[in-house]
Amino acid sequence: MLADHLPALQVALPLLTAPLVILLRTGFLAWLVALLASLCSLGLAMLLTATVLETGTQHYAVGGWLPPMGIGLTVDGLSALVLLLITGASSLALAGGRLSLRKDIDNRRAPMFYGAWLISMAGLCGIAVAGDAFNVFVFMEISALATYVLIAGGRDRRALSAVFKYLIIGTIGATFYLIGVGFLYMMTGTLNFADIALRLDEVTETRPIVIAAGFITIGLALKAAIFPLHVWLPRAYTYAPNAATVFIAACSTKVVIYVLLRFNFEVFHGNLPGHTDLFGVFIIPLALAGIVLASAIAIFQTNLKTMLAFSSVAQIGYIALAAGLTSEAGLMAALLHMFNHALAKGTLFLCVVAFVLTSGSASMDSLRGIGKRMPWTMAAFLVAGLSLVGVPGTAGFISKWYLVVAVIGWDGWGAALVAAIVISSLMAVVYLWRFVELAYYSEPPGGEVVPMEVSRPLRCLIWFAALANIYFGLFPQLPLALARSGTETLLGGLF
């Protein structure tokens, strides 16, 4: 019986656990309950994925009111992919981040923190299953507010200034999105995605629709940190508690991109003349600039977390570039890269958790010689780093492959785009290798090599994540199937 309610439970379970968590008395208990809820959500997401792959898209009418009157939930391959990312990243970060979070968050405030964590996760899940444009706004705000709380938990005072900036930009982005939804409602009289797409055809006057597309795209681009709207991201990632960064970096921008794709392909694509070209013209130059410039900036960072954050901006550029091609291969590449980048970045930040746990800081200087002190963690970092670069045999390669194949097929500027991708991949090698050299071939601060590896469970977890990068590089059937099904739904309107 419960199997029919999976889409609703996916959101309700973590959401309703959160109020319980804030009532708990100790940080440990709160952490434990949050972890369990997160793992259960992961289980639900897996069940849902299996169901979607078996029987196709799932529809759910909340409250028993059929959409467009009530709010509909829609879970297809794309949603399933994003759900797996969210719940997986959350579970990984919570499981691996206990000690680190215990250092960052004092026991008294910890229940609040874990409550916010669960709400953030539930909000992201809510976005992923939503079939209603306004519902997306509500859950975007839930997750955004909760994410601000998570980031504000950082020990450094700069976390506060970073989170304030994020709050302002995030709110502007969400409000832009809301304006766009308003224009759409004005011209179609409905809020349901599928229904909007259906009724857009009948709208003869397109001026408000174009404005709506503009507001929605720019608003979401702000929240997704597409270059040059990324200014909030590096500091937010850097000063957030390390474990929270694992979670946020792996999925929060991806979910926004998911909405961006949903809107631009399911709603506008095919209904708005010239939209496809306009979308490409708008997004591709920005994506390219992001890919190249953010990679270049990453090279000069002195803090490991900031470096990885700028790398994220570049990687978001890849996703945007692939989506901007508006081709089937391009979308496949975008969706795959969402998955693979989350995997790699999650692992990298998890290693950062371990590094900071033992050496106290994420600045490059304090991490000198860390490869000798923490050989296991550093090796995992290396594996995930290679996946980030796109070395074959790792997950990152699969999406880069799709990306380059898609780009070559794009008429006109294919070669230039390939060149940009290649250059930024090489820059990724440079910034990663700068750290690898530092970790392996320079003397640790204090001169002596003291083995100070983290606890065995954390090490196992890190390696579990690192091996997942390899597993999905050799056997990418699952993300491929989900990405393919997602591409089909996104382009459904076209063919």
Partner: protein
């Protein structure tokens, strides 16, 4: 032989690496494990030799990450030969390494043996690759696993050189080779190595030359100029690593890949008909002559050997692009011949360093009297480089020249003759002064021979260089198939 033994060739050194990593505390066990792994790998590889000679072509697919893009292994004559060379020389190199690493009291020996085993696993993967994707995968693993070996010393200068090593190899492979592979995949729909090639009819005109360029320069390990910078830079590595780079795995993997791509991706016939692909032989000729001239001006023994290698690699490239049956055999044989000769030379250089810490050419005057065995081996290696009978180098040069005459390719003929002269000009003086000159003033000559393990290793390879001249029939039979199987 069942097909599942193919992945075993990768797993065996991999397993060895793991066991070595965990036995780091007991050096004797560690090195015994290295040796045992090397020997069993060689046995495994060689046991396939007869079957492949008889025309068997085992193939096994491990996974298919993307449609038309699989992780698959297969064994064909060219790969068989490369696998044999790499696995066999690994044994000898291990023996040598034990002597060298202990003799020089190197640090981080466990890391050395682990990375070495990983590099061999990668080399096996390259030898067995059934398609470009698999080749690329192991090519990158080889680069990454040899980086710690090159950077072994860990001081600032070494790191800087290792950075060049890694930078050039990764940049060329990601920047040129990968786009070339993807391009091939896009136009041909597959990247499988296929007899007769897969490009024909899919690509024409200047694009063929461009694709060939992406491949050749993308495979930086083949060290065609101007992508050769990494090889002299990598001379900072310990000598067994240089041997690994120059003879056992790395550069061999480079020319092996180029040869394999020309034969199985482009197809010899197709390439022969494409004027736009002709630039490669000029490039190869240029590299041969230039590298030889540069070698002439070197004062450091290992750097001189490095430039010699660059020239010898382009021999293989040039032989391949002569695009005639005899030349193809010559190319394949030259991979083997050069391996034996060059490893001998490096072993000798390492022996000299271990025994006397001499690295410069002028210090070698008169050293033959102190280290007769070493210098005898060195002489044999040098003669093989020049191509003097009865050494291995003569056999391959003979085939290449025959192929060049068959094709009436005067550029190739001239290049081979000129470079032979140049080789003689930089090797013969060393041999002469080492045996016949008194020591230079201020150079200590109070040392004897290197440790036994080192001597054993270099005697074996020197002996093989000679033996190869007399007993090369099995290899010729094997590579003869390459030609028969080619529609020439």
């Amino acid at each position: 032989m069942p097909e599942y033994t193919l992945p075993l060739m990768l797993l065996l050194p991999l397993l060895g690496a793991i066991v070595i990593a965990f036995s780091g505390r007991w050096p004797n066990i560690r090195e015994a494990v290295s040796l045992v792994t090397a020997v069993s790998l060689a046995i495994l590889v060689f046991s396939w030799f007869p079957a492949i000679s008889d025309g068997a072509r085992p193939q096994i697919t491990l996974s298919e990450p993307l449609p038309g893009l699989s992780l698959a292994l297969s064994l064909e004559p060219l790969g068989m030969m490369f696998a044999c060379i790499a696995s066999f020389l690994w044994i000898i190199n291990t023996i040598y390494s034990i002597g060298y690493m202990r003799g020089n009291r190197e640090k981080n020996q466990t890391r050395f043996y682990v990375c070495f085993a990983l590099a061999i696993a990668a080399a096996m993967g390259i030898a067995l690759a059934d398609n470009l994707f698999t080749l690329f995968l192991f090519y990158e693993i080889l680069t990454l696993s040899t980086y710690p070996l090159v950077a072994h010393k860990g001081d600032a200068k070494t790191i800087a050189s290792a950075r060049i090593y890694l930078g050039v190899l990764l940049a060329t492979s990601i920047g040129l080779l990968l786009p070339a592979i993807i391009w091939t995949y896009v136009i041909a729909g597959t990247t499988d190595f296929t007899v007769g090639g897969i490009i024909e009819g899919k690509l024409e005109g200047a694009a063929v030359g461009l694709l060939l360029g992406l491949f050749v320069f993308g495979i930086g390990k083949a060290a065609v100029m101007p992508m050769h910078r990494w090889l002299p830079a990598a001379m900072v590595a310990p000598t067994p690593v240089s041997a690994l780079l120059h003879a056992v795995a790395v550069v061999k993997a480079g020319v092996f890949s180029v040869t394999k791509i020309i034969i199985y991706i482009f197809g010899v016939d197709f390439l022969f008909s494409q004027p736009s692909a002709q630039w490669l032989q000029y490039m190869a000729a240029f590299t041969i002559i230039t590298a030889s001239v540069v070698a002439l001006y070197q004062t450091n023994l290992k750097r001189m050997l490095a430039y010699s290698t660059i020239a010898q690699l382009s021999y293989v490239i040039m032989a391949t692009v002569i695009l005639k049956p005899l030349a193809e055999i010559g190319a394949a044989v030259h991979i083997a011949a050069h391996a034996f000769g060059k490893i001998t030379l490096f072993f000798a250089a390492g022996a000299i360093y271990t025994a006397s810490h001499k690295t410069e050419l002028w210090q070698l005057a008169g050293i033959g009297r102190r280290m007769p065995i070493t210098m005898a081996a060195f002489t044999i290696g040098a003669l093989s480089m020049i191509g003097v009978p009865p050494t291995a180098g003569f056999v391959s040069k003979w085939f290449i020249l025959a192929g060049a005459f068959q094709a009436e390719n005067y550029l190739a003929i001239f290049t081979i003759i000129a470079s032979t002269a140049l080789n003689a000009m930089y090797f013969l003086p060393i041999i002469y002064f080492a045996w016949l000159s008194p020591p230079a003033t201020g150079v200590d000559m109070d040392h004897g021979e290197a440790p036994g393990a080192i001597l054993l290793a270099l005697s074996v390879t020197a002996g093989l260089t000679i033996l190869f001249f007399f007993f090369n029939q099995p290899l010729l039979d094997l590579e003869g198939q390459l030609v028969e199987s080619l529609p020439l």
